[in-house]
Every structure is written in structure tokens, then in C-alpha cells.
């Protein structure tokens, strides 16, 4: 009995000692294999469609019809992209989007910050009620206001310009911006504003010289969040753009495939790539702020 144990330990020991330095390696590797595999699959699922899209934007129609989907493009010509900007008129759509989105963004940020300041830093009766009034707007679906707005824009002859988009965007962006700005001003110690007031600063001076610089980062974050909402908007743009000259980039892309009879694969992929490029580039450089902003924008329930 003791002899066998001795033999077992004897024969087992050298083996163990032999493997010892590496023992953690393979065992650890196999223990972590499922999770590594899971992560690999996850990353492929998230990234591959985008890679496939960019590769597809260089392929010709025959390549799409005759080659399997994983084939690489035979050449890297930009024919499809030229098609997108000539027949597809994407240049016009991008300009429309820029004209509609950036002024809206500026107005949203200015008005929203001022309102957030008035609601959070200043002292007056009924500010809680007004803040709630703004909050209520977050939950109401946009469908609720589309029809009256359409009537208003129609009667005031604003239909046929990009004004309906700008006006609607500003109003729709207001609730979240006011709410987030109020939250950011709440985190600024009140003593700062009380001190500046004691030093004789007027309220506007307190707002511009003290309030604004303090929430500069927050302003950037909210601007980023609102940019994504407006740039990616389809409902409003689809409702209020009645001619092809007014289409934003989203509406343009939606109508892009419809302009041909059969699906033109290469140009379609190029159009999607052009559409995606803007937000993708922003995310590439500012991903941490985007993640922080978008998640902060949602925790309001």
C-alpha cells in the first residue's frame, strides 16, 4: 500500500515538476477558452457586417452575383462612390443634412443651457413644475405632434424649405437638453453663484462667465448626443421633406435603392458606407465621450 503510493508520488512528482512552470498556461488557456471563443464570436458579429459593407462598396454587380459573399473586391476603384454622388445626388443630401442639423444643434444648446440655468441655479416659485413640463416631453411620441405641425407649416408656407426640420428639431431636442443641463448645474456648488452675486456680478455675468465655463464639458457631451439624434433622424425628415431637393442624407439613402429597378449592389453598398462614415469617424475619435453621453441621456426614467 505504502509502496504503491510511493511509486505513484514518485512517478507523479517529476512529471508535475516538469510541467510546473507551464502548468498554469494550458490549464488556464482551456479554462478561459469558452470566454475567449465567446468574445471572438461577439467581435466578429459586431465588426464583420461593417467590414463586409466597405469591401462591398468596391465590388461590381457581376462580382456580387457570381462570387460568394466573402470574396474580396477585384479592384479598388471608386466607380460606385462616383455613382453615389452623381446619380445618387448624395452631395446635395449631405448639404441639406448639415444645413438642418447644425443650426438646430446650436439653438438647442444655447436655449437649453440658458433654461437649465434658470431652472436650477435661480430661485423662484414654480421652477419644479416647469422642469416637469419639459420632462413630460421626453415620453410623448413624436407622432403626437406631426399632424398639427404639418398643418402649421403648410398654412405658414414653410413647407418647401428646411425650416420645418430646424424648428421641429429644436423643439424635440429641448426636453432632454434642459433636463441634462439642469442636472449638470445641480452638481455645481451653489456657493459659487452666491459668491459671484455677492461680488456684484449680474445674473447674466454669472451665467456667461461662471456658469458656462463650468458646464463646458457637459455642453460638448449633450451636443454630441443631440447630433446623433438629429443626424440619424428619419421620422421628422421623412414627414417634412416633400421634394427630392430637400432630402436629408437619411431620406436620400432610404430612397436610393428605389431609384433603380433591380438592386444595384455596388452603389448601394457605397451609399451605405458614405452614410455611415460620418458617425463612425466621430465615434472613432470620441468614443468615450459618446458612450458617456448617450448612456447619461437615457438614465432619466
Amino acid at each position: 500500500m505504502s509502496a504503491t503510493t510511493a511509486i505513484v508520488t514518485d512517478s507523479a512528482l517529476p512529471v508535475r515538476r516538469d510541467v510546473d512552470p507551464k502548468r498554469r498556461g494550458p490549464k488556464d488557456f482551456f479554462r478561459r477558452l469558452p470566454i475567449r471563443l465567446l468574445i471572438a464570436i461577439l467581435l466578429i458579429i459586431e465588426i464583420y457586417p461593417i467590414v463586409w459593407m466597405f469591401l462591398g462598396s468596391f465590388k461590381t454587380q457581376t462580382e456580387f452575383l457570381n462570387e460568394p459573399f466573402w470574396a474580396l473586391p477585384q479592384s479598388w476603384g471608386v466607380v460606385n462612390y462616383v455613382e453615389v454622388f452623381t446619380t445618387g445626388e448624395f452631395g446635395k443630401y449631405i448639404v441639406n443634412s448639415v444645413i438642418a442639423v447644425f443650426p438646430s444643434l446650436a439653438i438647442i444648446l444655447i436655449l437649453g443651457t440658458a433654461a437649465g440655468f434658470a431652472l436650477e441655479v435661480m430661485v423662484w416659485k414654480g421652477r419644479g413644475t416647469v422642469l416637469l413640463l419639459f420632462l413630460a416631453g421626453i415620453m410623448v411620441p413624436a407622432q403626437m405632434i406631426l399632424l398639427p405641425l404639418f398643418t402649421i407649416y403648410f398654412r405658414t408656407s414653410l413647407t418647401g424649405s428646411l425650416w420645418p426640420l430646424v424648428i421641429t428639431y429644436v423643439a424635440l431636442g429641448m426636453p432632454l437638453t434642459v433636463f441634462m443641463m439642469a442636472t449638470f448645474f445641480r452638481s455645481v456648488p451653489r456657493e459659487i453663484f452666491e459668491a459671484s452675486t455677492l461680488d456684484g456680478a449680474s445674473i447674466f455675468r454669472s451665467f456667461f462667465s461662471i456658469g458656462l465655463p463650468l458646464v463646458k464639458n457637459a455642453l460638448f457631451t449633450i451636443g454630441l448626443v443631440q447630433f446623433f439624434f438629429l443626424w440619424n433622424d428619419l421620422l421628422i425628415a421623412l414627414t417634412f421633406t416633400n421634394s427630392s431637393d430637400l432630402r436629408t442624407i437619411q431620406v436620400g439613402l432610404l430612397n436610393f435603392t428605389g431609384e433603380y429597378g433591380a438592386v444595384q449592389y455596388g452603389p448601394t453598398f457605397a451609399a451605405i458606407s458614405v452614410n455611415v462614415l460620418g458617425t463612425l469617424l466621430i465615434y472613432l475619435f470620441l468614443n468615450q465621450q459618446v458612450m458617456k453621453g448617450l448612456t447619461a441621456g437615457s438614465v432619466k426614467g
Binding site: 436655449l111 423643439a171 452675486t197 454669472s206 442624407i249 426614467g301
Partner: protein, 294 residues
Amino acid sequence: MHKVLGDKRAIFVLLGPALLVYSLVMLVPIVWSLFYTVQDGNPITGFTFNGFDNFTRFFQDPAAWDAIFFTLKYALILTVLQVAFGYLLSLMYVFWLRKGSGLIRTVVFFPVVLPTVAVALLFQRLFEAAPTVGPVNSFLGILGVQNLDWFGTPDASFWVIIAMDLWRSMGFYAVLLYAGLVDIPDELIESARIDGAAGWKLIRTIVLPLSLPVLLSSIIFSINGTLKVFDTVVALTNGGPGNATTPLTLYMFRTSFAYGDYGYGSTIALMLTILCLLFTVFIFRSTRRDLTKD
């Protein structure tokens, strides 16, 4: 000091413009829309009062019921799936990847920022059956499943919509819930571990109860967003095949703008608003009961 911080004129100047725009473009139209629900017509033909006809029509309209049913099915299934997937991912970030999760978090998050229209067109091609075979069908072909026409049947279309929104949103919910998990004090988890809790038990007894508030706000946010689904469906299936994937939002849009029926369109919009309110209140109430029970 209170004179300055409570200066009526300053409040008016700072708050006035925002409140004015908000009132004129959001609040007034909401009330205006309520008046449309008891009328028939559109701005070009004019309106006539028709009492509660729109409401009786709504409840007798099979297409409206189909739209409600689709909206609820989509919202409930997607909410459960995206919060569940997000939660699993966030648990993976916190407990398995620890500090090394930054890059993966960033990569899994990125589809959220992509325009819905672009993603939808891409998914049409990913799930394509003919004339070219898309990656999904090619992959299924390797597994021995025959070429599936995803957009030809209501059920398959429904699951493509769910798959696309899950692909887009799970990274977002993962980051949202991750923020909640990170807030759980390390000492709490350590002491639970010392007490012998590990793996599933640790998650069920310590992590899950503590992340309940952030789970709740995720669910409310998700329900509110998914009940209003529009972009995804319009760009991916356009409500088809037939009307099988038409949510209330799209039904309202078609009724109003394709058929010029503003009265009935407003009624559908109001029903959607009520649905959103009901769900939010319901979730709030049901969790409050749970909290008092504990």
C-alpha cells in the same frame, strides 16, 4: 442676493425662449392633436366634427389590432432580449474581463451610433436570399439549412427586425448596466465571496438585487423606445410582407400621409401615447410593490 438670483426679468430672458419654442412646437400641437381625434379630414379638404367615430373605428379596425399586437410583441420581446443580453455582457465585462474590458466595450457599443437606415439596408443584404446569397444564408447553408427567404414570411421578417435591433443596441445596454454594476462596492462582493457565495449564487443574491434600480431604468427606457419603433421597420421591411410587420407608428404615418386621414391618424397617435404611459406607470407600480415587500 436673492434679488439677483430671483430676478424675474433675467428668468424671463433665460427661460423664455426655450419655453416658448417648446410650448409652441410641442405642447400646443399635443393639445391640437387631441382636437383632431374627434374630427374627420385633412388640412387640404378641411375638417368635419365626427364625435367618437374615430375611436369606435379604431377598436373595430383589424389592421389597428394587428398593429397593436405587432407593437406589443416587438416591444416586449426586444426589451427582454436587449436588457438580458446587455446584462450578460455587462456581467462579463465586470467579472471576467475586469480592467481589460475597455476595448471590447467600445467595439460592441459602436453600432448604436450608426444611422438606422444604413444598418437596415445592410441587414437587407446580410439576410438576402436571392439573387445573391447573403452571409447569413451562406452560413446557414454550411450548417445544412436550405436558403431561407427572410423577408418573405411574417415570422422570419419579425426575427430579422429583432436581430438587427439587438445587434445595434446590446452594446448600449451593456454599457448602461455596466455603469450600475461598477457602482456596487467591491467590499460587498468581497465579503460575500468570503461568506462562500460564488458564481451564479453571488450574482443572484448580491449582484442582481443591487443592480435592480439600473435594470429597472433600462427596462423603462427600452419599453419607451421600442413601443415607438419606426425607423427600423420602415427601412428594413417597410411593414411587409403585407402588413405583417406594421407597428402603430407606421400605421399612423400611412393613415395620415398616404390616405390623408388626419383625424384617424391622430387617434392612432393618441392610442400609442396612452400605451407608452400605461407601460411606464405599470412598470413603476409593479416594482414599487416589490420594494415594499422586501
